[in-house]
C-alpha cells in the first residue's frame, strides 16, 4: 500500500502531501505520523499542503486529529502552504480547523515551531528553580 513519506528534520517531522489522497491513505498518514512522533520524540510536525488543490471535511478532520494527537504527545503542528481557493472553500464549508496552527510556507512554519520550542524551553527553565 502506498504511504506518504515522513521526513525527519532535527527535532521536527516534515510531511509533504502531493497526491489526491483517498480516505485510507489519509488515515494511514494519521497513524504513521503519530507513531513517528512517539518513536522519534519529535517536538514539531510540519504538514505541507501547498500541492493540495482541495481539502474536504475528511482531510480537514485528519489535519485536526493529527494536531490534537501531536499535542498529547507534546509536539506542535503547523500546516503550511494552504492555497487561496482552498482557504476560501474551507471557510464556506464551515470548517474552522480551530486549534490548528498555520503558516504561509515551510520556512515560516519552521520558524514558528522553533519560536514555540524556544518559548517552551524558557518556560520550563523558569520552572526549574
Amino acid at each position: 500500500m502506498d504511504r506518504i513519506p515522513i521526513l525527519r528534520m532535527g527535532d521536527f517531522l516534515l510531511v509533504t502531501i502531493q497526491v489526491d489522497m483517498h480516505d485510507q491513505l489519509a488515515l494511514t498518514l494519521q497513524d504513521d505520523l503519530t507513531a513517528a512522533i512517539q518513536r522519534t520524540g519529535a517536538k514539531g510536525v510540519l504538514i505541507d499542503i501547498s500541492a493540495l488543490e482541495m481539502v474536504d471535511s475528511f482531510i480537514g478532520r485528519m489535519i485536526a486529529n493529527i494536531s490534537r494527537m501531536a499535542r498529547i504527545l507534546d509536539a506542535r503542528t503547523v500546516v503550511v502552504g494552504m492555497r487561496p481557493a482552498v482557504a476560501i472553500t474551507l471557510v464556506e464549508l464551515g470548517l474552522s480547523l480551530a486549534g490548528v496552527d498555520t503558516a504561509l510556507d515551510v520556512e515560516r512554519g519552521m520558524r514558528r515551531l522553533r519560536d514555540a520550542l524556544d518559548e517552551a524551553g524558557v518556560a520550563s527553565a523558569d520552572h526549574e528553580d
Binding site: 492555497r83 481557493a85 471557510v91 480547523l97 503558516a103 510556507d105 515560516r108
Partner: protein, 287 residues
C-alpha cells in the same frame, strides 16, 4: 430543435453552386446599395473575401441537405461564428452583421426566378432558400450576442482589478484600499486577488482599509469576515482599518460578530501595528 430537411431541389443547388463569382457580384451590388463598402470599420475587399468564403462553404454544405445544425454544415457555422465575433469586436451592431447575410436573399431569388421552369418549383425553392438564410441569420445573431457578452464581461473584470489594486506597503505587509460602494460580486473578486497576492508576496500581514467605503451591508460585512478567516487559515493575519463611526454602527446593528478581528481607525494605525507585529521599529535619523 427543428426537423431535419431533405436534400434541396436541384434548382436550389444550382443557384447556390453555379457561377458563384457572378452571385458574389450581385450580392455586393445589393450590399453597396445598403451602404456597405463605405464603412471605415471594414474594407470592401475584406468583405468580398468573406462573401466569397461564405458562398464556397455554403455551396458545399447544401449538397448534403439543408439541416444547418448537422455536421456537414459545421464549416458554415464556424465561418459565421468567426465573422460574427470579428464584427462584434469591430463595433458593428447585431443587425448590421445579420444584414450582411440577409442581403444575399435578393440575388438568390432573382436567380431562382430566372432559372425556374414552373411556378410550383419556384415557390418550393424560394421557401427553401428563405428558411436556409433565416436559420443562418439567427445563428449569426446568437453568436454575435454571445461575443458581445464575453467582451463586456472581460472589460468588467479588468475594471474591477484596476479599481482595487493590492499594494505592498512593506516587506511582509500588503494593503487593500477599498473605495466606493462594495457589492457582493466585486467584494468576492477583490478578496480572491488579495489572498493570491498574500501568497505571491509571502506577506504575513494584510490590511484591508475601508476608509473610502461609505456603507456596508450584511453581505459585505460577512464577506469581509470570511476573508479575514481565510487569511488566517492560510497562515497570515488581517487588520481592518478605516471603519467609520457609521459603519461601526451598522455592523453592531446587523449583529455581525467582529471578535477576534483586529480593527484600527486609520490605515496609519494599522501600519504601525503591522510593524510592531513584525518586530520592526521606526526611528528618526539623527539630524
Amino acid at each position: 430543435m427543428l426537423p431535419p430537411m431533405p436534400q434541396p431541389a436541384p434548382l436550389v443547388l444550382d443557384t447556390l453552386q453555379r457561377d458563384t463569382a457572378a452571385l458574389l457580384q450581385e450580392w455586393f451590388v445589393e450590399l453597396k446599395a445598403q451602404g456597405a463598402g463605405s464603412d471605415h470599420r471594414i474594407s470592401e475587399s475584406e468583405m468580398r473575401e468573406q462573401g466569397a468564403e461564405l458562398l464556397r462553404v455554403l455551396g458545399a454544405a447544401a449538397e448534403t441537405g439543408t439541416d444547418v445544425g448537422a455536421e456537414p454544415w459545421r464549416p458554415v457555422r464556424e465561418f459565421l461564428d468567426r465573422m460574427s465575433r470579428s464584427r462584434a469586436v469591430q463595433g458593428f451592431s447585431s443587425s448590421e452583421t445579420a444584414t450582411f447575410l440577409f442581403s444575399l436573399k435578393r440575388p438568390l431569388f432573382a436567380r431562382l426566378r430566372a432559372r425556374a421552369t414552373d411556378a410550383a418549383a419556384l415557390g418550393e425553392a424560394t421557401w427553401t432558400v428563405t428558411e436556409l438564410i433565416d436559420r443562418l441569420g439567427l445563428h449569426t445573431v446568437a453568436t454575435f450576442q454571445k461575443s458581445r457578452e464575453e467582451v463586456i464581461n472581460r472589460q468588467q473584470e479588468e475594471m474591477l482589478e484596476l479599481s482595487t489594486p493590492v499594494v505592498k506597503l512593506w516587506e511582509g505587509v500588503v494593503a487593500l484600499p477599498m473605495i466606493g460602494t462594495l457589492d457582493s460580486a466585486r467584494t468576492q473578486i477583490v478578496m480572491e486577488s488579495l489572498l493570491q497576492r498574500i501568497v505571491e508576496t509571502g506577506s504575513e500581514i494584510a490590511i484591508i482599509d475601508i476608509t473610502g467605503v461609505p456603507t456596508v451591508d450584511t453581505l459585505v460585512a460577512q464577506h469581509l469576515l470570511k476573508t479575514v478567516t481565510a487569511i488566517r487559515l492560510m497562515g497570515a493575519d488581517c487588520i481592518i482599518s478605516g471603519i467609520r463611526p457609521q459603519i461601526a454602527q451598522t455592523i453592531v446593528h446587523l449583529g455581525v460578530e467582529l471578535d477576534g478581528v483586529t480593527t484600527k481607525a486609520t490605515l496609519a494605525d494599522a501600519l504601525s501595528l503591522a510593524f510592531k507585529r513584525s518586530g520592526l521599529v521606526v526611528t528618526r535619523a539623527k539630524a
